[in-house]
Point group: C2
Chain length 298, copies 2
């Protein structure tokens, strides 16, 4: 089985479905609610597991009840959490997410800034047996740790380059593949135009570069040429976590030996199916669904 080593954040989202976005200091009743795991790296790990890969997640969590929920949920998904570290006295991240009937979202996030970002503990236990690496920019030290392991073992090392990118300069240098979000690429290069941004970014790193832009699809540099892959046209009802899921599937594709172009198509299918279902990453399909979808859209 293909093993993907992933470093970054894992959180819990308390998602409330509301008729209208609450605006006043009053009491509101939610129509429905869901407690859904979230966080870039954790969402990617779930996508890897559901697509038939082995996902090993390294993350910083508090030794608290929220952390227990986060780990239990990931383990239910088959994600290997043995590289997650629980910090005594630390508090795990959680968010309140309101989704109104128009699909608009409001997110209020809590993050414990007292949990150390240091990743020397991860350097000491990071495995050498894996097929690809994925890291997010929410924990730059962890990203550097696993991307160094990818280099040392000559495996693909993918960075999910979401803004803000300040602090992730080393991770960008270490990655073999940098997949920017549109906002991440603009933040990194100061260029509004994505093609100009990719060209500007190519001056600063030797990594393979692409940018994901939601419904607009994916653009990348193919030996200096600008190539694009349009997103699959689906009836999107929930885009929460779609980018994270894309990154997980893309890293899995590379780990399985797919070319970048094949992995883009594969990841775009997994993310597209996810968007057709409510409930964040709970809508990630399994491998069979993805294969059927790809056959249909051939």
């Amino acid at each position: 089985m293909t093993t993907i080593l992933i470093a970054g954040v894992a959180v819990i989202d308390f998602v409330f479905s509301v008729d209208h976005m609450p605006r006043l200091p009053e009491k509101y009743r939610a129509r429905d609610a869901a407690i859904v795991g979230g966080g870039c790296a954790a969402n990617a790990a779930v996508a890897v597991a559901r697509q038939g890969g082995t996902a090993r997640l390294a993350s910083r969590l508090g030794r608290d009840r929220v952390g227990d929920m986060i780990i239990a949920d990931l383990e239910d998904e088959g994600v290997d959490c043995s590289l997650c570290r629980r910090f005594e006295g630390g508090r795990s991240s959680f968010s309140s997410v309101f989704v109104d009937t128009g699909g608009d979202r409001q997110i209020v996030n809590f993050r414990d800034e007292t949990i150390s970002f240091d990743a020397q503990w991860l350097d000491q236990i990071v495995p050498n047996e894996f097929d690809a690496v994925l890291a997010d920019t929410r924990w730059p030290e962890g990203a550097s740790s696993v991307l160094t392991a990818a280099r040392n073992n000559s495996r693909p090392g993918v960075l999910d380059a979401e803004a803000p990118l300040r602090g992730s300069e080393e991770a960008i240098r270490l990655a073999s593949h940098v997949a920017f979000s549109a906002q991440g690429l603009r933040d990194f290069t100061g260029q509004e135009d994505l093609q100009a941004g990719l060209t500007a970014a190519a001056d600063q790193t030797e990594a393979w570069l692409c940018v994901t832009d939601g419904e607009a699809g994916v653009a990348w540099l193919d030996d200096g040429a600008f190539a694009t892959f349009p997103a699959f046209e689906v009836n999107a009802v929930d885009t929460l976590g779609a980018g994270d899921v894309w990154h997980g599937a893309f890293a899995l594709g590379l780990g399985e030996g797919q070319t970048e172009t094949e992995a883009i198509r594969f990841a775009s299918a997994v993310a597209a199916i996810k968007c057709t279902r409510f409930g964040g990453r709970s809508g990630v399909p399994d491998r069979q669904e993805t294969e059927a979808f790809l056959k249909e859209f051939k």
Copy 2:
């Protein structure tokens, strides 16, 4: 030890401290956050336990992770949860609470309406050994069950009469003591003026009647005469759950054999101290603090 039997709701509040109340469908960062148990009956049970009583709580919860958190938190407080029933497939209640720097609150609550309100299972296990009963109006069938037990055992039976009171008519008839909130009394009688409201309510029940009105203190009917007890003057920073805590301490006072007037003074002290600390019911004092406070304010 004095035992108080309590029926009603138990929830978890995810409380976010924010600079300004979020109003737009955007991403916000909380300054701080706390996961605090809540719910009228559960808050009252914690107040009883911290004041040295034995609190036995009957409540309806889902057999889910939120329910596990609610029970674990209450058991940490020494509350006896053996009368709580967990419903397979049911989802426990939780809320998102935003508190801004001005102390304003916005609450979005989720409640699973599919969990049965029926309390026949409680009738079958309700104990006969207790010193007083307390019930809230969020579970009228449970209130009737424990207030019937209070009648059968000639013990005080207190109803925390919060609006809406529709559905709690039987509980009001069964209670020996009805403690209205100002909103609850207005909802029950249609009278804006609280003195007129108490007089009107007295025509509909033989119970001892009072109304709690936050900073304005407590008013009650003393053999037809209108009596008042002003709230203790404190620097209130968080009034979340203050009413629930008041009711728990009041029921404990009656269970200990205090007169109504003594129990009002005692409960008002416990609630006042709670309001001087941030974090909902986590600010409830212990008995020693309450005694010291009462000595000082003599």
